[in-house]
Symmetry: C2
Subunit: 396 residues, 2 copies
């Protein structure tokens, strides 16, 4: 019992952490419960009073299937579901009518063939990346409704009645979802994307701002000594999450397209631009990953050489970090990103200073082999500065 | 009309390409059509003969919703759907019975509250990453069935009858899907993961094998000359797809877990090991990305220095590429990966050769600044060799 108790405690703890990490999750759960209860009660009262029938279940079903974490997700699924049902219903009636022109024996064969044809064709279109991203759910519902209507074997009048009921219940369910998800603490995919992009850039910025100290501080303590740093080094890990952010960004941008005007975001907000900025910051993160493999290695270069390049290197890293931070805040507040230009200018000057310093350093004394890692760090930093430059262009 | 014609032509072309890129897509579409027709005809004949009723629609619905591209996906969805329906149905009957203990007026309130509670709680558990990966669909169906059963307002006997029908139709639909997807040209997620991992490693290998020539060949043509290379350089782009492969690998590994024994893969095949290997090869790809930014820059180092390090660098890159290739083929054929050890050994020797070469090079003549990029390339290659080492350990 002690073991199971500790398991329960552990689960409770991780549940609490999940809620604390993002309180919107708790709110979302409550919202789903609310929408579900609303749809259920509607169905319940309808059954009691005017016999809405089994079709009313579709309202509940719609709520469960359609309600997503973000407004964009809910919108996209509701609209997809609604239009696909409408279209497929009409086509299904047509198919049934067409099949009824044949004899009674041939009818199931014709219908089966039509279902096969449409099912296969629609499934194939789901492989198109662009269709998959936006209309995947709609096509699914299309196949579903078409085969159900065309195979149902009802008379056309019955089908129309059924279609009317189904469509109205789906609209009720979908509308409930859209209203609840947009009116009660809405979670906008656009906002999320916006925040993700800026926080990613900020993570890169904190890494770069801290890198100079971390790298040269270590080496100045001497070779043999193990570094004892009491500072919080977590900022050095933050950039890692940027490396694999592509799929999240893509899906958020897809959902953001479905969202109506809200906050600072117009209807045709340039979400593609966010993806572009995301791609460049990911590239920057790759360079940082390369940089990071040197952070724990000893610098064996001579004191003299090191002291010469320490300043420009630290400056490069710090200034590009600052430039990133100011770009991030420019994106966040949607203001002119020109304050970043000073830092960019500074980091470019630092590159030149570094070049001068390297040129001036006396080659005879320095051991070339020992310089290699430091040189790598320096040239990786140069690449990062270039990346930041590109990023700033994309923001403008 | 000319414009719309060209549009249609374009769509047809991209459709054809989609099918040619992976013919399994066409087969999958046909399989979906087949399963759908089977389920529909079953439903159709049943309706005609013994009145299987509206519940029969659930078989069609199940097929549409459950049929996935891979066997693992179909399995996971079918099983999730089946068990969730069973469990939620039982709970729903219990909830209805519990609510009926209250008065007729309180009943809907109690039921509404229960639906709210369960809906919110289940939605919250969907945020757990581990649960989301494996049981997301099951929980969705659980909420769905529970609210539909508990709100249906039927008598317990009726509910049991309905539950029996629904469950049997779901089993019919699910079984149709599983049989069609496993028996007709099955697409195993495990196979796909296996191939993805090996092809990713091979892509890295081709890059590394070609890098030495590409980099030093360029520079030997002289500074000002623009490179005219008639060779196919596509191998230099292949590694890019490795950078963002994480989400695909994760989802495939999740699906692979659901698959039964097939081919060389046992029931408890170490899929986690694949993810580990995937992570290391991604790290290797990050280093290659860093390397790639130097491939088009001019080498300004003196001829002498360059000629000294050209050989060890090319050797390092080639040998680590060969090591990767032999590791990939070891994974592919599931054989002992020891043939890679020779190449690993060779690349380590090349590192030492490089060190000797750098030490021996006369510092006075070389311009330090010009050396920096070349030095970076060399030390990035060293990092790549380390990565390959780790990869080989993981494969063992």
């Amino acid at each position: 019992p002690g073991k199971s108790k500790s398991k329960v405690l552990k689960a409770a703890k991780s549940m609490r952490k999940l809620g604390q990490d993002d309180p919107r999750r708790v709110v979302h759960s409550l919202k789903v419960g609310l929408a579900l209860t609303l749809a259920s009660l509607l169905y319940y009262s309808r059954t009691l009073y005017d016999g809405f029938g089994v079709a009313g279940m579709w309202a509940v079903l719609t709520v469960v299937v359609v309600f997503e974490f973000t407004v964009g997700g809910t919108m996209s699924k509701s609209l997809n579901r609604g239009f696909a049902t409408l279209l497929a219903g009409a086509l299904g009636v047509g198919a049934q009518h067409f099949a009824s022109l044949f004899g009674e024996k041939e009818e199931p064969i014709v219908l089966g063939f039509l279902v096969f044809l449409l099912g296969a064709a629609c499934t194939f279109t789901r492989f198109f990346p662009r269709i998959k991203a936006r209309y995947d759910y709609g096509i699914l519902i299309f196949i579903l409704t078409f085969s159900m209507v065309s195979v149902s074997g009802f008379q056309v009048v019955e089908v129309l009645e059924m279609a009317h009921q189904r469509l109205s219940t789906i609209i009720i369910g979908g509308a409930t979802c859209i209203v609840v998800s947009t009116c009660i603490c809405p979670v906008w995919a656009g906002d999320d994307l916006h925040n993700l992009i800026t926080s990613n850039i900020e993570k890169l910025a904190s890494y770069l701002e801290g890198f100079g100290d971390e790298y040269f501080h270590y080496s100045s303590e001497g070779e043999g000594k193990v570094k004892v740093s009491n500072k919080d080094n977590s900022f050095l890990q933050g950039y890692r999450s940027v490396l694999n952010s592509k799929s999240t960004e893509d899906s958020m941008a897809n959902l953001a397209r479905w969202e109506p005007r809200h906050g600072h975001f117009g209807l045709r907000h340039p979400w593609k631009q966010y993806l572009k900025i995301g791609a460049i910051s990911r590239q920057c993160a790759y360079h940082i990953e390369a940089l990071n493999s040197y952070i724990n290695s000893n610098i064996q270069a001579s004191e003299e050489f090191q002291s010469k390049i320490q300043e420009p290197c630290t400056k490069m890293s710090e200034e590009s970090g600052k430039a990133l931070r100011s770009l991030a805040s420019a994106i966040k507040t949607m203001k002119d990103p020109s304050p970043a230009n000073i830092h960019l200018e500074n980091s470019r000057t630092a590159i030149n200073e570094l070049k001068v310093a390297v040129k001036a350093s006396s080659l005879e004394q320095a051991d070339l082999l020992a310089i290699v890692p430091v040189a790598t760090v320096a040239s990786t930093l140069i690449e990062i500065v270039k990346c930041v430059d590109k990023l700033s262009e994309a923001v403008h």
